[in-house]
Structures are given as C-alpha cells and as structure tokens.
Symmetry: C2
Subunit: 158 residues, 2 copies
C-alpha cells in the first residue's frame, strides 16, 4: 500500500510530504529489519541495544539503557537476558551498589556487532544511492530545519 | 536522546542522514500520537483505521482493512470491536457470503473522524512551518527519489 494514495487534491501539500517522509522511513526500516533477520538472524531491537553498548566501553546501567532504547521499544530486560545467554553481553557488578549492575558487550559481542554495523552501513549507503552527494546535503539541511522545529515545539510543550 | 549523537566522523554521511530522517519521523509521529490522545482521547491505530474506512463509503472486508493497516500495526479486530461498541463503526453482512462482513463508519464515526482529520492536517502543516513552499517542494522531490529507490529495491528482492 502506498500511503500517499490517501491524499486528495484538496489536502495541503504538507500532508502529502508527511506521508512521503513516513513511507521512506518505513521502507528503509523494513529493509533493515529484514536484512538483519536474513543475514544475521537478529532483530532491530537487539541491534540497537548492542549499538548503544558499543558506544560505552564501561557499560551502562539498565535504566540508562532503557531510556536510550525508547527508539524501537522492545523489552530491554528480555533482550539483555537473551544476549547474555548467547555470550554477546555480560552483566558486571557496580562497586558500592549491590543491587545495580552494568551491562557491557563481551569481546564476542563486540566482534559480532562490528560485522553487523559494517553491513548496516552498506544497506544505508545503498538506500540513498539514488541521490548525489549534493542532493544528500540538501536533504540533510532541510531535514535539519524540520528536526529543529520539532525540538522547539517539544520544548514549548514540555 | 538524539540519534545523531551516535555518529562518528568516520561514518558515511548517509548514516547521519538516515538517523536524521528517522528522528524527524519519530518526532512528528510522537506529537501526532500525543495530540490524538490529549485532544480526542484516541490512538494512532484507531485514527488510521477510521481514515481507511473514510475512503471507502461502501465499507471494507476485514482482510482488506488488516492489509492496509500494516502501517501502524495494532490489533485490527480489537480496534474494530472497540469502535463498534462506541458507535463509530458498524459491521454489515455481505450478500452471498454468510461468514464475511463489511466494516463501515457510522454517520457519527464519519463526523468524529472529520473533526480529527482537520486537526491532524493542522498539526502536520505546523510541523513543516519552518520550511517555505519552495523548500517543501525540494524536500518532496528528494524524498520522492528516495522512495522510488526503495520501491525498486523491494521489487528486485520480491
């Protein structure tokens, strides 16, 4: 289904633009999910969780991790448990707080993530292959303005 | 959290662009969800389902409706049941097929949807208010090229 098919001529152009933006995002995300499944037998929430940990060599507290994972939802505790069972992630005690622990990638997890991240980069480069570098720069600039606007609106509401 | 914060300088510009696209979509979608909840006490899957029905005055079979609703997921049967209970949607028998029925908006559902659709249009117009008409046209053109590319890739894989 093409979301834009919903649009009538009396709709404002912004509505068509929004549905096009949504469609682009959904198509790319669907492809990323399907490539992760087929090529690495993994899911986007698992990939995102490992991506967060990869940036924090000292590991993260579960509550930090949950906050950052808002993106793709997913059950952070459940995913962490799975990855621990598979030896890709480990839990380490936090000195001075017996109830808390930090979650880290294991050496194997780091290696597995690096392979996925390389492939993921290539999928994304491919996704944008119909645009020249100059066009990508224009798109980035326009989306940057759109994003600033949403952030401002978010702050005004908060 | 800003997704773009994940990006290092050695990452291809496409990756930053992708995270920016994803962020714009998520920010706008989050605002739409929160406005629907606060101003109309409803959800995006309910709004989407009613939007589908509004385009089909003769109603839709459940399987058509489910297929089109892929967008926001959601339990189509459960949502339909709720909307029927609230008198916004009705089920009508299909002549010649005793097991099937068509789902339609009621007059009240149509009126309720019209009010939401007007507000939704305004939220989307607001979301793009930082771009001029010419900039929106450029954005639409570039996203159109991006979308065609994804569609082509989808067909090649299928």
């Amino acid at each position: 289904m093409d979301l834009e098919a919903r649009i009538h001529s009396e709709h404002p152009d912004e509505l068509r633009l929004w549905l096009r933006l949504l469609t682009c995002t959904q198509l790319i995300e669907t492809r990323v999910r399907s490539n992760l499944r087929e090529q690495f037998g993994t899911t986007l929430p698992r990939f995102d969780l490992m991506a967060q940990l990869e940036r924090e060599p000292d590991g993260m507290l579960m509550k930090e991790l949950s906050r950052r994972m808002m993106v793709t939802g997913g059950n952070v505790t459940g995913i962490t448990d799975q990855l621990v069972t598979e030896g890709l992630v480990e839990r380490n005690d936090v000195e001075g707080d017996r109830r808390a622990y930090r979650v880290c990638l294991t050496a194997r997890g780091r290696k597995a993530f690096a392979a996925m991240a390389r492939a993921h980069e290539q999928w994304i480069v491919d996704a944008f292959a119909s645009l020249s570098a100059a066009e990508r720069a224009t798109l980035a600039k326009l989306l940057g303005r759109l994003k600033s606007r949403q952030k401002t609106m978010e702050e005004e509401t908060a």
